[in-house]
Symmetry: C2
């Protein structure tokens, strides 16, 4: 099996699982219980949040652990509210959350870039939140988040200058970037940040919302008052310990790993585009996640190729896993203006820990055979 | 170490962990991905929901997996809304969720029983939801849920008879009962049910909301549209598989285990009340969870006893873990009218898988010594 869908799910790193194991059995205590073994669990939990904090240049205290990125996004939106600005290539979680608020959706360009200028134009005097993912999960484009942060800073200063205290914050879902990019909240210039452990070789259904100390969050899931009263429910101790280990490993290996993946990706890209002159690459070709290769073969049915590849042990995606499952065309590919003939022939190939020189070469050869077969079938 | 706080947290059953393990590593795929290995994961996930369903006499399709009981309760309340009726001894999650709606809070009696009659009196023509936990998490009283269900059925029929189609539903958080009681949705007569894997030797931050097919749930966490669109976010595959195993084991062993725990509990209760004539037992003495023993030693400081016990390796609680952590007196003990002198001398002892004849005897002897020491210290 050659797994080329790391953007959809990642296997738990064995070191992550090893870190989690004691908290399933020996250290199972409720971190809110008053006796010493439970207090030790509470300390390990808080230390894990500090570790995650260090990885993103933040304090553990400013992190709310959630059940994944989707809940984190819902919490961010429900906390800030007001008029919201986002882009038409955002993840379904953002596009669904935005519907509960007055909103403006800006259009990304053909490379899936959301320009700071488009955000500037969309901001209104009552805009409180701008939400742009660090990197697009389908085509891999990395957004000019620092430029967008500058626009927001200017707007904030302009408001203050005229005595208007309406806050405006920048939120970013950096789930897809965290293993390959420097995700430092200060350097990115964000006020709220969403991360997902499951995208970085950590456990599923574990994520976080970081917010700057001056941002006031409002409880979304209410109850026992855990996570500073913002997110109730007995803490996911094992999951958070695993998340911390995953973040630690990501920080440690990011430099090496992103270079390695980029080399593998570029080689595969060259092999495939050399084989098919009409292949179309999507996403920004320079500002793109190292492991991402979004390639379309106009005129063929990617679904058929996907099943052909699967029969030969190569696992790729045609769109994001959520969209693919619903059998609808990807809203991202629509947004960047891919003709339907091109969009329908798209493969999303995402490399990661399971990718090697050898299996990428093998995969490229198999993809060429399967696409050639499909082109022959449709007589093109 | 002798663990007597099973109501706060339970260790993962080794069989549960074994069931989860493959889904951390080999079968890590996103269940929404389109290739066969992911489809197999989807099938295992759905089968796990069916297994959970069977344990409660329901269909897997009517179950929404959540990140624990608290989220499940929030989802139930936000879905149904309207005027809500609950009781003053309910869990913090219910008492917090109820604040977002018009509500009436009925008073439990001195044994922590919520009578069907008190519910009947609180129901208004616009009441849509009644939420009563199957068993109280502090004193262990089991509620007359079937009687309450009868009251609701009568109200529903009366409404229909006068052409009023305002729905009224019964929700119950059965998290504390599931390992020891028959939790069958039809026999309980509930329309919505909350469960928590962490209370039944399953993983933390995994729970569910079951609802009858005629109940319309509304999405609370929005996004990719998982769980029939009601609860978005990549599914917690390993957690749900573990939950299913835990429920299966609970169903299998419940008869034997509840008898075993009741015997251990009754013996401990007798030993302690024989030693201290002034000890006060709380909760209904017959309709009570088999493993629950809530006992107060008037005039002593339970916190001091708790630390004395902890030094000798015996772990008990003074109230629910959430409340204990905040250093406030338990709202349940207030609600059932315990004098503060009695309430402040309370220990919550909850037995479970880790309890044996031997360690319960040992624990009882140590508790007697520590309580005696404390009575001596305060000169009583």
């Amino acid at each position: 099996m050659i797994y080329l869908d790391h953007a959809a799910a990642t296997p738990l790193d064995p070191k992550v699982l090893a870190a989690m194991m004691p908290y399933f059995s020996d250290d199972f205590f409720n971190p809110s219980a008053p006796y010493a073994p439970a207090i030790m669990v509470r300390r390990s939990y808080d230390a894990a949040k500090d570790t995650i904090g260090r990885a993103i240049g933040a304090r553990g205290d400013d992190i709310i652990i959630t059940a994944g990125a989707t809940e984190s996004i819902n919490l961010a939106f429900s906390s800030i509210g007001g008029h919201v600005v986002t882009a038409n290539i955002e993840h379904h979680a953002v596009l669904a959350a935005v519907k509960n608020f007055e909103h403006t959706i800006v259009e990304a360009d053909s490379r899936a870039v959301v320009s700071a200028e488009s955000i500037r134009q969309a901001i209104r005097p009552d805009t409180r939140l701008v939400s742009i993912a660090l990197a697009n999960n389908e085509v891999g484009t990395i957004q000019p988040l620092r430029d967008i942060a500058e626009v927001i800073k200017k707007e904030r200063n302009a408001r203050l200058a005229r005595g208007d205290h309406t806050p405006i914050y920048l939120h970013s879902d950096a789930s897809q970037g965290v293993g390959q990019l420097d995700v430092n909240v200060a350097r990115l210039g964000v006020d709220l940040l969403t991360l997902n452990a499951a995208k970085v070789y950590g456990p599923k259904q574990v994520g976080l919302l970081w917010s700057a100390p001056f941002v006031e969050l409002k409880p979304y899931i209410v109850g026992g008052g855990q996570e500073r009263g913002i997110r109730s429910g007995t803490e996911n101790v094992a999951g958070t310990i695993g998340f911390a280990k995953a973040m630690e490993l990501a920080s440690e290996h990011r430099g090496f790993e992103s270079k390695r993946l980029m080399k593998l990706r570029d080689t595969m890209q060259k092999t495939l585009t050399d084989a098919f002159a009409k292949a179309v690459l999507s996403g920004h070709q320079r500002h793109r996640l190292a492991g991402h290769l979004h390639i379309s073969f106009p005129g063929i049915d990617a679904e058929r190729v996907l099943f052909g590849l699967e029969n030969r042990g190569v696992l790729v995606a045609t769109g994001s896993a959520c969209a693919a499952n619903k059998g609808t065309r990807s809203h991202v590919l629509n947004a960047i203006g891919l003709a339907s003939e091109v969009a329908d022939g798209s493969l999303r190939i995402t490399l990661g820990h399971l990718s090697t020189d050898e299996n990428c070469q093998q995969a490229a050869a198999i993809i060429i055979e399967e696409v050639t077969k499909e082109y022959a079938r449709v007589g093109r």
